[in-house]
């Protein structure tokens, strides 16, 4: 199964994540709306990795569960971590200058969503969108 890792160190890398997710979502056979949803979620999460996680990487792969195909992305950084995950997920909450829609929005746009994070431990966010 194809797999692609994109390092996230700059705003241009966030664009590269979007392009790689698009390419792999097409390869997985996702429809246009599903592609758009996971690419948009990936854009939000990649920006968080850059802005809050101080950079990291995105691992993108096609996944298969029985007859179902989908795209899974794992965003990982070694940044400061998230102390209050519930608060971070709230729409409108931002510790920076954002709109506070990235995490909550990504969760709504994907079929699977998980965050593992703790202060000083970095952050890992996993999302998947199925066909």
């Amino acid at each position: 199964m194809p797999r692609s890792t994109v390092r996230i160190q700059s705003g241009e890398d966030v664009v590269r994540v979007r392009q790689e997710v698009r390419r792999i979502a097409i390869e997985a056979g996702l429809g246009l709306v599903d592609q758009t949803k996971i690419v948009t979620a990936a854009s939000e999460l990649a920006r968080n990795t850059l802005d809050y996680g101080k950079g990291g990487e995105a691992a993108i792969e096609i996944v298969q569960a029985g007859p179902r195909r989908g795209v899974r992305i794992v965003f990982e950084d070694n940044g400061p971590g998230i102390a209050d995950i519930e608060l971070a997920l709230k729409d409108g909450y931002s510790s920076g200058k954002g709109m506070g829609l990235g995490l909550g929005g990504a969760k709504r746009l994907c079929n699977e969503f998980a965050i593992e994070s703790a202060p000083g431990q970095g952050t890992r966010v996993t999302v998947a969108r199925w066909k």
Binding site: S10, G11, E12, V14, V15, R18, Q19, R22, L32, V33, Q35, T36, K37, V39, T40, S43, E44, R47, D91, G98, M99, L101, G102, G104, G105, R108, L109
Partner: protein, 132 residues
């Protein structure tokens, strides 16, 4: 750094976003448009996003900011050409674009700008080529 070109068309400014914008490029567009609106005393801003495959919260906020700044500077903003999949995704993302008027395509967007200006009685010179 690259910048997105801004064209002047009568009293309006026209921007066609043809690249997948990174955040600094979007911020530069916001700044450049603000400067140009003042420089040419633009009354309208038309932003064509038909080439954009996604609008995330950063790009969405940039569009909303541009509309807000333009309004303060006495210009109306119309965003045209949003793809259906993008519109569906924006709603689920939770992003509303306050103050952003939309139209299906550039032609209708220009017509909308003209009629808004006519309604305000602010485009006396435009009638000849305009909305008749």
């Amino acid at each position: 750094m690259d910048r997105i070109p801004i064209l002047k068309l009568g009293e309006a400014l026209l921007v066609t976003i043809q690249v997948d914008m990174h955040d600094r490029l979007a911020m530069a567009l916001e700044e450049d448009l603000t400067t140009r609106i003042v420089d040419v005393a633009a009354k309208g801003v038309l932003i064509d996003i038909s080439a954009l495959e996604i609008v995330d919260s950063f790009i969405g906020r940039t569009l909303a900011n541009i509309a807000m700044i333009a309004k303060v500077l006495d210009a109306v903003t119309v965003v045209v050409g949003m793809r259906p999949a993008v519109a569906i995704t924006l709603v689920e993302l939770g992003l509303s674009l306050p103050g952003v008027r939309t139209a299906l395509n550039a032609e209708r967007g220009m017509a909308m700008i003209r009629s808004l200006l006519d309604a305000e009685g602010m485009a006396p010179g435009e009638e000849a080529e305009g909305a008749a």
